[in-house]
């Protein structure tokens, strides 16, 4: 029996063609994605395999490009708001905040203190949601089926809590210029406190079930070691760079809102491997719980909506506002020409920079390790393509 030529190399599209030009002899070019169980949506990775070892890998983007930035130039400032929840559906409030913050900075809108506290609270709740999804999905990548359902069990509580104020469960459009959409009530606070109690216990269970698990440690430790230099080179932020030992967190580095008043740590691990990134996220969930407690204790009474002009026309100029999302630094660069629509909106998505180091990290690893590395970077594909 002879192998048909399809198996050896018959690249059909542009990316495969250009990728296979540099291929060595006796290697296999494999398309992982755009439909593949471990690429979470529509990321496509072309890999050149020598046996099961990866010689080269190249992520191909653009399968879910929705022109969010261009839509920003066509819609008014307020009309662009609901787009933000769709860029990164797992940490929608952070994107809300990045855009709202940029507009506020540009137009000089004051935010009442209560609104700031509510923003921090919802953002941290959302951060835990995001990390829980990542945790479950990562373990699914590594072949453990059960943890994702435990994670979703906990996440369900948080979604119910957030639904009380935002009305939706995933793509929030909750922040408004100068405040937030709705005020939090006592039940919201009570539920959150109950959740914090419950989740502290659950985190211990997570540790016993998964973090200490021998097989998981073998799958994560010393896999995809990312040096500080490489991380800097590619502009990695968030848990990815904190896993390499750099304590960079926008909440501390460029403080915004009421974060400077709050007492929390930035978990940092110096190993730089997948396990370090895993640990950073687990520790971050604990820190988020701390922040939530402090915010609820200190939350002042007052308005939740500051004064905003009826038709928003920020003065000519440009601004940049960054917040710390679950995946890293989320930045919005706004240029205004004085009209009701932005001249240009540039979105800096952390996932894009974090993914770009994948090609370097996966070189020489096994295909199973590549899956582990890809998972440990915590990618949300719509955010990468925007």
């Amino acid at each position: 029996m002879t192998m048909s030529p399809q198996l050896s190399s018959d690249p059909s599209d542009f990316y495969s063609q250009s990728f296979s030009k540099g291929a060595r002899e006796n290697t296999l070019i494999l398309n992982m994605g755009p439909q593949h169980p471990s690429t979470h949506g529509v990321l496509r990775v072309i890999v050149e395999l020598d046996g099961e070892y990866i010689v080269r890998a190249e992520p191909v983007l653009g399968y879910i490009h929705r022109m969010h930035e261009f839509m920003g130039q066509k819609k008014t400032y307020t009309q662009y708001l609901p787009n933000m929840g769709r860029v990164d559906y797992l940490h929608a409030t952070a994107w809300n905040w990045a855009y709202v913050g940029a507009v506020e900075q540009l137009a000089g809108i004051e935010v009442p203190e209560r609104a700031e506290y509510i923003r921090v609270l919802t953002c941290e709740i959302n951060r835990i949601c995001s990390h829980l999804v990542w945790w479950g999905a990562y373990l699914l990548d590594l072949g453990a089926f059960t943890p994702i359902l435990y994670a979703f069990e906990d996440r369900e509580f948080l979604l119910d809590i957030l639904q009380r104020v935002t009305g939706s469960r995933l793509t929030y459009c909750y922040f408004r210029f100068g405040g937030v959409y709705a005020d939090v009530d006592d039940k919201f606070i009570d539920d959150t406190r109950t959740f914090i109690q419950r989740f502290r216990k659950r985190l211990k269970m997570y540790e016993a079930l998964v973090t200490k698990n021998f097989i998981l440690r073998k799958r994560c430790e010393d896999i995809g070691v990312l040096s500080v230099q490489t991380a800097r080179k590619y502009g990695c932020t968030g848990p990815v760079i904190r896993g390499s030992g750099v304590p960079y967190d926008v909440r501390r580095a460029v403080p915004y809102s009421v974060y400077p008043e709050l007492d929390f740590e930035i978990p940092t691990f110096s190993e730089g491997d997948a396990m370090a990134r895993y640990m950073v996220r687990l520790k971050e969930m604990e820190q988020s719980l701390r922040i939530m407690e402090q915010v609820m204790d200190r939350m002042p009474d007052g308005d939740i909506q500051g004064k905003t002009p009826k038709t928003l026309k920020p003065p000519k100029g440009e601004t940049y506002f960054a917040v710390e999302g679950a995946r890293g630094k989320i930045g919005v660069h706004l240029v205004s020409d004085g009209s009701a629509t932005p001249y240009r909106v540039k979105l800096r998505a952390p996932g894009y920079s974090n993914l770009s180091c994948f090609a370097e990290l996966s070189k020489g690893t096994l295909i199973a390790d590549a899956v582990s590395i890809l998972g440990s970077l915590d990618l949300v594909i719509p955010e990468i393509d925007r």
Partner: protein, 163 residues
């Protein structure tokens, strides 16, 4: 020697993991049997927008057909137009027929739910608070046209049902 120790510790961690899943195996379920039970959180859900009726006349909306919601909507999913009263021949002057009069109440109020992203900007911008979120969770249709909801008809139906 250390490697044997590590291996034993590793094996023990696996046993602990089995213990945890075993414990949950006997624990009560947390899911809701959907068609027979309903989730408890529907109250706070905010579905598509709906019109608010007048206090004395529940079937007629507060809406003044100003069209601000339609202009504010990011995805142009709202269609509003004022009700037009037929021209009154008594008002005709100089032999010219009278212009039809635009009334301050909507004649058409359509929401294309296909396009709606539930951002709530129409609710916020409405000057007379005639819009609010509905609680319509189970919204399922067979054709795309059915997602085009006639909000006026919906309001009348609700008024009849006495909601």
């Amino acid at each position: 020697m250390t490697s044997i120790k590590n291996a034993l510790a590793g094996l023990w961690s696996l046993v602990v993991g089995m213990g945890i899943t075993g414990k949950y195996f006997t624990a009560p379920l947390v899911t809701v049997f959907y068609p027979r039970q309903e989730a408890e959180n529907i109250e706070t859900y905010r579905g598509h927008v709906e019109l608010v009726g007048k206090e004395d006349e529940a079937g007629v909306p507060l809406c003044i057909a100003c069209g601000q919601c339609a202009r504010q909507c990011p995805s142009q999913c709202i269609t509003v137009s004022a009700k037009v009263a037929p021209a009154d021949p008594a008002e005709s002057k100089d032999g010219k027929p009278a212009k039809p009069k635009r009334l301050k109440t909507p004649g058409v109020f359509q929401l294309d739910y296909n396009l709606c992203s539930l951002c709530g900007q129409c609710v916020q911008v409405c000057p007379v608070d005639s819009l609010r979120y509905s609680n319509n969770v189970y919204f399922a249709v067979f054709t795309r046209q059915e997602t085009n909801i006639d909000l006026l008809e919906r309001l009348e139906r609700q008024a009849k049902e006495g909601k």
